[in-house]
Every structure is written in C-alpha cells, then in structure tokens.
Amino acid sequence: MSGGVSVLDIKGMSKSYGAVKAVDDVDLHIDHGEILGLIGPNGSGKSTFFDCTTGLARPDGGKVSLEGQDISDWSLNRIAREGRMLRSFQKTVVFKKLNVEENLVIAGQMFTFGGVLSTFGIGRGTRAKVKGLREHARELISLVGLDQVAHMPAGNLSGGQQKLIQFASMLMPDPRLIMLDEPMAGINPKLIERVVETIQYANQKMGVSFLIIEHNIDVVTSLCSRTIVLDRGRKLCEGTPAQVIANDQVREAYLGG
C-alpha cells in the first residue's frame, strides 16, 4: 500500500436527474489490492454512481481521486487510458463482429501506443507492438479458458463467454482498478465459478483492485472483504459482507423497497 493513499477515493458524489437524486453525497474509497462490493436494491443508484465515477456521466458534485490525482473532469477514455481504471457494463458488450482475439487486441492498443497519431504507424515497430499485443491476448484468452473459440466472432458466443471476453479485455492494459457492473448477472452457474476464480487470480497475481456491483450475495461473500450498501442514492451502511447482510436497515431496504 503506497503511503496510505487509496487507489480510488470519492468524496461527496452527487447526481440528480430532474428532481430525483440518483446519487446523493456518497463517499467511498478503495484500498490497494482490495475487492470492494457495492450492493443495493434496484434503482438505488449503483449504476449511476459507476457512470459518474468513470466519466460516462457528469456528476453534479463530488471529487474523484485516483491514487491522489483528481480525475473528476476526465473523460471515460482518458480515465481508462491514463488512469488504467476500467469498467464493464451491466448489459454485456463486446465487439460482436470481431473475433475474440481482435477484441482483446483493441482493448490493449491505446496502452501500447501512446496517442492517436502513433496508431497510424505502419512500420516494423508498430507491427512488433501489435504482435506483442496478440501474444498477450492469447495468454489472457487461455486464462479465461476461451482458447477453443479465440477466432470466433464474439457475437456468436454465449452471454457468459462474452462476459469473459469483456473481463479479459479489461485485463489487457495491466489495470490498477477494475469496476464490474453485475459480472454474474445472467450467466450459467458453471461459469460463475470461473469468473470468481479469474477475479481472484487478477487480484492476487496481477495486483488489480476491484469494485464490484453484484446481486449474487454468495459471490460477494466469497470475493469481497468489505461491502457498501447503497439505498436511494445514499450510502446505507458499510462493513464485511456478513455484517452488512445482518443489518436490519439493509434487509428493510431490500424487502420494503
């Protein structure tokens, strides 16, 4: 842990849509190497919070710091490229017409090539870099167990396999922090285990920190050391998964809606 500074530190995040306060003054921090769970009933503002943090939506207020650097007004692509903080989407997205390997190569490109101009290169150096990316992609494809389908168009694969592609893509740039929006939603139970293992592998062997929105409480329990509960845009409580589940307010929020 580098000098006590968190990987991500968010202070006073707020976002309203009209009169509705989707996110209301939320503080949150993620420590180095931590897997933080973020739970809450539907419509509690989790996804809005994600969007505001990653630059996809503009928050009304609040400060986001990544390893001490203020990234509040960075755009989505800059946060990914310069901050190496990546996110997934709730509704799984992959480049459907491209094959799995290409999907991963694209994910890695902006980190290998510095800027837009250098990607237009045609020289030997460029080709070598792309070759490197391809090799790295193959490793990650093996890691998530998609070797068999590496050259299939991503759109032809199952929802669970697409989740794995998405996850592998985010590992391409050697990220600091990955934010996953419901990684287990709608996937085959057999694959859930593999995803959990991969997250743990990335966390332990690659040193990636995670922020995970997840409804599957077993997954949260097995992955996260700390969990935050959001309800109606506000932070309801915080603690270990076990503590949180035991919390009356949390039960009420889930049941009472």
């Binding site: 996809l56 990546l86 480049f95 490109q109 870099k129």
Partner: protein, 337 residues
C-alpha cells in the same frame, strides 16, 4: 482482397489455390485494358477511378467508423477548385496540384469536423449536407476567386515534370494510367490505414463507441482523424477530376455526385476495400450501360438503387469474398462469417 474485419481463414488443407495466378491476371488486365478497350470504355474506367477516391474516404467513414457523411462532395469540390486555381494561376504541374488539393481539403475538414462531430446520427448527416450547400454558395458567390458560375475552365490535362522533362496525359488512354496509378496509390494508402492499429480502433468505434471509449480509445479524436483523412481522399479525387474533365464549376456540388459516392460504397459493400473498388467499376458500368435507353435511364438507375438497398443490403462484397474463397480452393462454412 479480404475484409479487414474478417476472420483469418482457417487453415484446412486447400484443394487448389489459384489466388496468386488470378491476382496476377487481374493486375495484367488492369494494366493492359486500354490496349483492347475502346476509348469510351477507357474513359468510363477513368471516371470510375476518379470517384473511387472520394468513395474510399466515404468508406472510411461509413464502413469503418460508422458515420454517414455527405460532405465528401464538398471536399471533392474543394480539391477540384484548389487544383484548378493552382493550375490557372501558378501553372504548377499535376502532382503539386494534387498534393495541394489533398492538403487543403484536409485543412478545411479540421474546423468543419470539430463542431460537426459533436453531433450524432441525422443531425450529423444534415450538418454535412449543409457543408455541401454552403460550399456551393461560396463557389458561386466568391467570384473574384472562383469566377462564380463561369467556373474555371480549360484546365490542362495532368502533366508531370521532372527537371527538364515533362509528360502530359493527353489522351484517355494516358489519363487511364494516371488515374490507375493514383487509384492504386490511394487504395494502398487506404489499406495501410485500415490495417494499422488505428484502423482497428475505427472498427471498434463503428461496432460500439461506448465500449471503445471505455477501453481507452479517444473516439472523438479518431472520428475527427477519419473525417479529415476522408476529406483528403475526396480532395485527391477532386484534383484528378478537375484535370481530367477540365472544368471546375459550382455544378459539381449537385446531389448526383454525392449519390454516386454513396452508391459506390454501398454497392460495393461498406467496410470492404475490394468491394468499393469493384463498386466503382459496377457503378460506372451501370450508369453508362443504361445510356442504351436514354429516356428510361434515370428511372432504371433509380430502380437499381432500390434493388441494391433491398436485395443486396451488404453490397457485393460478400459475393466477392465467397468468389475469392472459391478461387483459393476453400469453401467457407455458411453462417460462420
């Protein structure tokens, strides 16, 4: 002759790969066609290659970046005027004019693209159409430079000079080789662009812009780069046009030119290099072939557009790649592509 977005072919044992001999044959055919084709057919091919250039640009936008721009006609016109003005005022040779046209078109595309690319979908399309209308108004009204509707006429045929030597492509056959050279060069440059990591990023933007953005791709900058590069292709086409047709006038901003570029890209198959190349030839074959029935020509042309859109929504590229695979002795499984 493969789509940049296609999957690397699987390596099953091939029966007989004729791709190399067929390529050589096609190359020789392109090289020798003026020898056995009539002047009219050669002229038609020159027109095809002139329009191939802006069509490449449009393909970069529609087929690779996923945005429809009608502004190609404006940059085509800017290129033509630039070359025409250079030729009339400075008496410069064709390569210089060509380069100037490309540079100017790209330079103009930057300030136009920056605001336009904030827009999406239909608004963007209309904005780019607006560029054509406004460029035409400028061409008509900036009389001291463009001579308004009088246009710039009597432009010299493409001349190349090196030291004391100079060569002018005065006949249709000679123009054919100039156009062929330029078209081949442009196609090669286009191939380099879409094969580069940047090309991959453009495809990513076409497929899913938000996802590309979340993976660190600065999509706005790429879209601007594509817009500017496309303008460059159009500018080159315009310069060739001006020198071949010998007139640059506001008439070249008519809808017909925009339609032509669109048809080449859609007909050939957007997102495919070889498709667009074939598309330009097919377009000219169609447009000129229909001259056989002058009264019905444009009606039939319109009907062909409908046929194209509804019957061959992917253009002819899929048929081409199938054909190419067969020449290569492979049969790709249906539906796996």
């Amino acid at each position: 002759m493969t789509d940049s977005s296609s999957i690397p072919a699987d390596t099953r044992p091939q029966t007989r790969d004729l791709r190399t001999p067929v390529s050589i044959l096609l190359f020789l055919l392109a090289l020798c066609s003026p020898l056995f084709l009539g002047t009219y057919a050669v002229h038609a091919l020159v027109i095809a290659m002139i329009f191939l250039l802006p069509a490449h640009g449009l393909n970069l936008l529609v087929g690779y970046t996923g945005m429809l721009s009608l502004a190609q006609a404006a940059f085509f016109g800017i290129g033509a005027y630039c070359a025409a003005l250079m030729a009339t005022h400075f008496d410069t040779s064709f390569p210089v004019n060509l380069l100037a046209a490309v540079v100017l078109a790209m330079a103009v595309a930057v300030p136009l693209g920056i605001p336009a690319l904030q827009l999406r979908a239909t608004s963007f399309v209309m904005c780019t159409l607006g560029f054509v209308i406004i460029t035409q108004a400028i061409a008509k009204n900036w009389i001291s430079v463009t001579r308004g509707d009088m246009g710039l006429s009597g432009l010299p045929k493409p001349t190349f000079s090196l030291g004391g030597l100079s060569w002018t492509a005065s006949t249709a056959q000679q123009s054919y080789y100039v156009a062929l050279g330029l078209a081949a060069l442009a196609t090669f440059v286009f191939w380099l662009i879409v094969r580069s990591p940047a090309g991959r990023n453009l495809i990513a933007i076409r497929e899913n812009e938000t996802l590309a953005e979340s993976l660190g791709v600065p999509t706005w900058r790429y879209r601007l780069a594509a817009f500017v590069l496309a303008a460059g292709f159009a500018g080159a086409g315009g310069a060739l046009y001006a020198h071949y047709i010998s007139v640059a006038s506001p008439l070249m901003f008519q809808t017909l030119y925009t339609t032509t570029m669109l048809i080449i890209v859609l007909g050939g198959g957007s997102g495919s290099i070889s498709g667009v190349v074939i598309g330009s030839i097919l377009f000219v074959a169609l447009s000129e072939g229909l001259r056989i029935a002058p009264e019905l020509r444009m009606i039939a042309y319109g009907a062909c557009l409908l046929l194209l859109v509804f019957r061959f929504p992917q253009g002819f590229a899929p048929y081409l790649s199938k054909l190419w695979d067969r020449i290569g002795g492979q049969t790709r499984k249906e539906g796996s592509a």
